[in-house]
Symmetry: C2
Subunit: 465 residues, 2 copies
Amino acid sequence: MRKPIVRNLCVLALIVLAVRTVLSGSGKPEDYRALVDKVRETGLSGERAFALLERITSVGPRLTGSPQAAAAVDLTRDLMAELGLARVHTEPVEVGHWTRGQVAEASVAASPSRAAIPLAVCALGGSVGTPERGITARVVEVRSLEEAASLGKSAEGKIVFFNRAMDRGLTDSFAAYGAAADQRVSGASAAARVGAAAVLVRSLTFRDDRNPHTGMLRYDPDAPAIPAAAIGTADADRLNALLKKGKDVSVSLRMDCRDRGKVVSANVVGEITGSELPSEIILLGGHLDSWDLGVGAHDDAAGCAAALEAVALLHDLGLRPRRTIRAVMFMDEEFGGTGGRAYAVAPQRKGERHLVAAESDRGGFVPVGLAIGSGDRKAIERVLPYADLIRPFGIWFIVPGGGGVDVAPLIANGAVPAAVLVNAQTYFDVHHSALDVVARVAPRELELQAVVLAILAYILAEEGV
Amino acid sequence: MRKPIVRNLCVLALIVLAVRTVLSGSGKPEDYRALVDKVRETGLSGERAFALLERITSVGPRLTGSPQAAAAVDLTRDLMAELGLARVHTEPVEVGHWTRGQVAEASVAASPSRAAIPLAVCALGGSVGTPERGITARVVEVRSLEEAASLGKSAEGKIVFFNRAMDRGLTDSFAAYGAAADQRVSGASAAARVGAAAVLVRSLTFRDDRNPHTGMLRYDPDAPAIPAAAIGTADADRLNALLKKGKDVSVSLRMDCRDRGKVVSANVVGEITGSELPSEIILLGGHLDSWDLGVGAHDDAAGCAAALEAVALLHDLGLRPRRTIRAVMFMDEEFGGTGGRAYAVAPQRKGERHLVAAESDRGGFVPVGLAIGSGDRKAIERVLPYADLIRPFGIWFIVPGGGGVDVAPLIANGAVPAAVLVNAQTYFDVHHSALDVVARVAPRELELQAVVLAILAYILAEEGV
């Protein structure tokens, strides 16, 4: 936390600037230059975004519906008040409560010529458990949902092993993730439809290691719910090598994860209320919930911290833009976005208009670009005159895009999507795994992300879009 | 290492392409698209650049003149041969041999009201040691060389404490480093000129921790050589706080570092010899030597690995460009570049013309831009038509620049400087400190850097500049 005396000096120093810029809303890029310098100097002077991330992760992993997620709600509400945000409150969300349990074991069954080989696995989020004695079955490997479907009767009673790797040749790591994630989301039901007993899914990462990467699966109503586990990439390669030898390979899988029904959780909301158009909102969002193998430092304590720090920075500088800049910490992104849907229809939304919805959920990395609006480039044209102001922070391109699970309902209602794009080359090294810990976040990179977000939000709140 | 069978397939697959592109040299960007795709797919398919970095760092820290630096020379020569480079050889360099010794201790002396406070320090590279009993003296804090000079007689017998921090408000970390490094390089002599007994220099990093960051100092011939130590930033702040209380603060400093005269070391050279203009050279360089607190993973095993991998990738694909692409692993960048100067005047240079000299010495991070040529932008204009080919790798800008200690003599002789610019926001977190270890390098980011370097080198070797 910055010291109050420094904050007061900043406020004093900026009064003239604030009055001039905020009330005029002239729209000229040069009117924002002093503001950008001040946000840069104040933001980069310390590592507060990282301190916020440390606070959020201090409760531990924040699996939707868990006591830790509830603790994160309380803590974040207090944090917003401490940072001086206005109208701080929570809004209830009914969420699922799935627990991983104590057991997630798998091994290649011993054969006359070979001892059993343990496999690094974890339950996929939402998976049913196995019977207590586990499931032991022969393994059949596939590369796609289509290939699983084509197995027909030959899959009956087997464990289907989805082993299509993320395409390392793609320079866009999100594209590589997107092209492989269907196995994790829909593999269980695709295999269940042809009678499989369980599925193993290759972890979604570029790395060759023994860290399984979890993530949500979706059971289709027309197929039995069968157990589904992620398997570390090194172990996936080992299993593949055994299968290539042509022998029958059986795997035993045992997991005691299970669904525990519904609980009430919450989104956490705070803002700088707009001075002229308070009901027009520029939303900066992140999600409070996380997976439970690490502590969700990049995914998405970092996004929460960046959004909080962006709003707090503007507040510290005594700025009050024309429109409202609101930080929303959504609950339950990881299990499909109940928090985002609840926010969009909450009674508090009455009379509000969300102009922009910016979700920060790409990891706490250094900014490299901006995404805003749709392919018609209208929003881009609106922002482009200010591009020179943010280029020194590493923002070299502005493309259509943005959005995210939590803000999708707002965008469907007409809000313009936006996001600070970051260098995500190593995001999937840690994503949804035990490696997603505080030590993997670089404080300065996170702060740069927050600073860019603050500048973007302020300009949009002044100028509209 | 990639498997030979894969390599052979690549070679076969590329024969048509290679013949077409290499011999025509048409210069059209689209002629290089298939090559770029192949380099991307082959390079990003694995983590060979990182494996090379692991090999280089396996000998340990490679302080100029040390047995480990000698081992790195042998290992790198073997590595080049193993990778299939042509004309692999070493070229002798006479270098200094300074040793850190076993002792680097400092503490704020105890006072009647306070116990002694240990300070995290390390000797600056090249520093003389203290007498065996150490130096104990009152501390005077300054922020600049000028302020040290202005102390006059009041500095006599004291320890001058240079405490100007890197400016966190600058978005360019190299600029922040450059603006603070004079204290480390020239502080000792500036203080000695006004009679100081020793200097402490604030470590050059944005982080607030207890890791001292070493680096070269330069003793001016007109001033006595006095001991010089770097002090961790947290301890620098503590010392500053004590001095602010207004009381006399004495520090004891003891170091047994010393100069051990000259030894003969070597640069290591290998290449893909040009098919048409073998004496025209595109040089890719890194430096083999490192500081000794970590293992010099980012600085500069990463640069060596990127240059080696770039050349090896082109070799694996069976490419033979018109001009020579040469990898040079320079010895002794850190103590001032004797290796670079030796290379420039070696007998082997007779008849050679270095068109481009690209040094990789900015850390093993993700590429973000290219630097090439001088302010007249001639070299940039030459490369600009190919910008679309490298943009997918994150290269969003091309600016004048490049160069480095090792290639400065070549550039003085007319070679065009060039460099892949990287995201160096966290470089100075680890630079010259115990934190510069293998675990801090992200394999995929290093591989992306090598791939961009390979593409750049190949286009320049085909097209000239």
